[in-house]
């Protein structure tokens, strides 16, 4: 019974999002959506992918990673090399971007099995910086002056990527593997002693999260006309972090909502970068003091429409 209900809900959301896609597509085709709104829409899509991918690492698995811009950079540069230097089609570049970032995720994920909490945070921050400095020193990709990339990212690409990201992460979370990841978040030592291979799941979560960050990187690179290593410093990592923190550590729909909300705010504050950073930092501080579980906690938006008691299986604890 519940499976049928769930399947119904699944197809309902898919068809609703397809309708949304079609409406936007018609608006773009008809020319009634000007480039500014189109760009904002693309940006929202890219940020949703980033937020969802980091949500899998921090919110579900409880691994506090603040080097997400590193994965974004790997994806961006790998895909840009594919299209610009090797003249490959965009589809292939997108996948290669994701795979390159997943490989980077494996490389940082495997040593990360020995680290926890703050130490992991600092190590991932260091990893992000290493990626940036390495890119800065490779002349093949233009060094500090960056790389020119043609504009290939279109609305259907962004939409399809967002859809795939959300479906994969949603299904991963509710699978056995996702449950194992959540148990690591709640108490790693206890999960380990219950026979869960914590190392394996941490690395898997890292690799999947990094893969989607790489896809976002590919879309990001082909949405702008130039990419530079300075675009991927740790400020970018913090930008992504705040999406997850604001939405709620452990809530996918929260991360998506925060991505939409903050992208819109960012767009309006484009001319006042300092104000934007002040608002972001105040949000982080006030949020952590008064509502550390974020806007949504670990709840999903779908559980709000269920009747009372229906959500009794929902986890009451906040992440980490």
């Amino acid at each position: 019974m519940t499976t049928i209900k769930r399947a119904k809900g699944f197809w309902l959301s898919i068809s609703l999002s397809l309708i949304f896609f079609a409406i936007v597509q018609v608006l773009i085709g008809g020319g009634s959506l000007n480039p500014f709104y189109q760009n904002t829409l693309m940006f929202i899509g890219i940020n949703i992918i980033l937020a969802a991918s980091l949500h899998l690492i921090i919110g579900i698995t409880g691994q506090f990673s603040i080097g997400h811009a590193g994965f974004l950079a790997v994806g961006a540069y790998a895909s840009a090399v594919m299209t610009m230097k090797l003249n490959m089609p965009f589809t292939l570049a997108l996948i290669v971007g994701g795979l390159a970032a997943a490989l980077a995720g494996l490389i940082i994920g495997i040593p990360s099995l020995r680290l926890k909490g703050d130490y992991l945070a600092i190590a991932t921050l260091g990893f992000g910086e290493i990626v940036r400095i390495v890119l800065l020193n490779i002349d093949y990709v233009g060094g500090a002056s960056g790389m020119q990339v043609s504009h290939l990212t279109t609305w259907p690409w962004v939409f399809a990527s967002v859809l795939v990201t959300i479906i994969v992460i949603r299904n991963f979370t509710s699978s056995t593997h996702g449950r194992a990841c959540i148990s690591i978040r709640e108490d790693e030592t206890a999960a380990d002693s219950m026979g869960i291979n914590t190392t394996y799941y941490k690395v898997v979560a890292f690799a999947i999260g990094a893969f989607f960050a790489g896809i976002a990187g590919a879309l990001y690179a082909h949405n702008f006309y130039i990419i530079q290593p300075s675009n991927f410093g740790f400020l970018k990592s913090f930008d992504i972090l705040i999406l997850v923190v604001l939405g709620g550590l452990g809530s996918l729909s929260g991360a998506v909502l925060a991505a939409i909300l903050l992208t819109v705010i960012t767009t309006f504050l484009q001319d006042y970068p300092e104000t934007r950073m002040i608002i972001y930092s105040l949000v982080l501080i006030v949020m952590m003091i008064y509502r550390p579980q974020g806007l949504m906690g670990t709840k999903e938006i779908t559980s709000m429409f269920k009747r009372k008691g229906g959500s009794s299986h929902e986890n009451k604890n906040t992440a980490a």
Partner: protein
Amino acid sequence: MELIQQLINGVSLGSIYALIALGYTMVYGIVKLINFAHGDVFMVGSFVGFYSITVLDLSFVPALLISMTVCALFGVLIERIAYKPLRNATRIAALITAIGVSLLIEYGFIYVRGAQPEAYPNDVLPTDKFDIFGVSINSQSILIFGVAVVLMIILQIIVHKTKIGKAMRAVSFDADAAKLMGINVNNTISATFAIGSALAGAAGVIFGIYYIKIEPLMGVLPGLKAFVAAVLGGIGIIPGAMVGGLLLGVIEALVSAAGYSLWRDAVAFVVLILILIFMPQGLFGKNKKEKV
């Protein structure tokens, strides 16, 4: 000879890292928090020193003392407003708050005064050159190293000979037990922040004099590297931070000397990751077993 020259540069840079790393290590030792804003306290210290020298027309020592005092107060203010409400929160919440405080200081500062850099006047300290066995040593390097050593000795005396130092050691060992013994934990934590921030302020002034150029985002990279230094020596251990800082400075200087100066910043993070993987307790730490 070139090598010795580089080693001396490395030690000067390393003593700046060491001063910042001491604050990280003390705060971490007592509240188990990576105070991301520490690098920004260093930046504020540098600017306070700059304004004391240029606007108030003070010489080096008064400027250093003013900067240390202002930073000490600033550090306590940060602790009381942002970190104290989170004393019993999760470590991730505390870490996120620290990141938020760091960004707030940086961009609040830019908002108030703009992002343009300033140049320290170069006549604050004498800049004679000595030639010893064919190595030319700048008198500034010696003075900077001297100031750092004196501050570290004062810190050791405070931590090991005074009442507040004893309280700090007790709280870092076991905060609850210390409370039961009548130690005022809140005041002790504030004192730790004050001392650590004062050292960061001093490092800021020294940095400004040595590297001339200062700007609102200057604290980020030295702050992170000082954290690397603290981890290298074993976080929470005061002599470890000093040795870690000096070692990191020397490593960076050697990397530059070998012709890889563009990779200098990456090396610090590679050192960090290697240390975390192979020796997470640091050079001076003991290995601790974890319990369920």
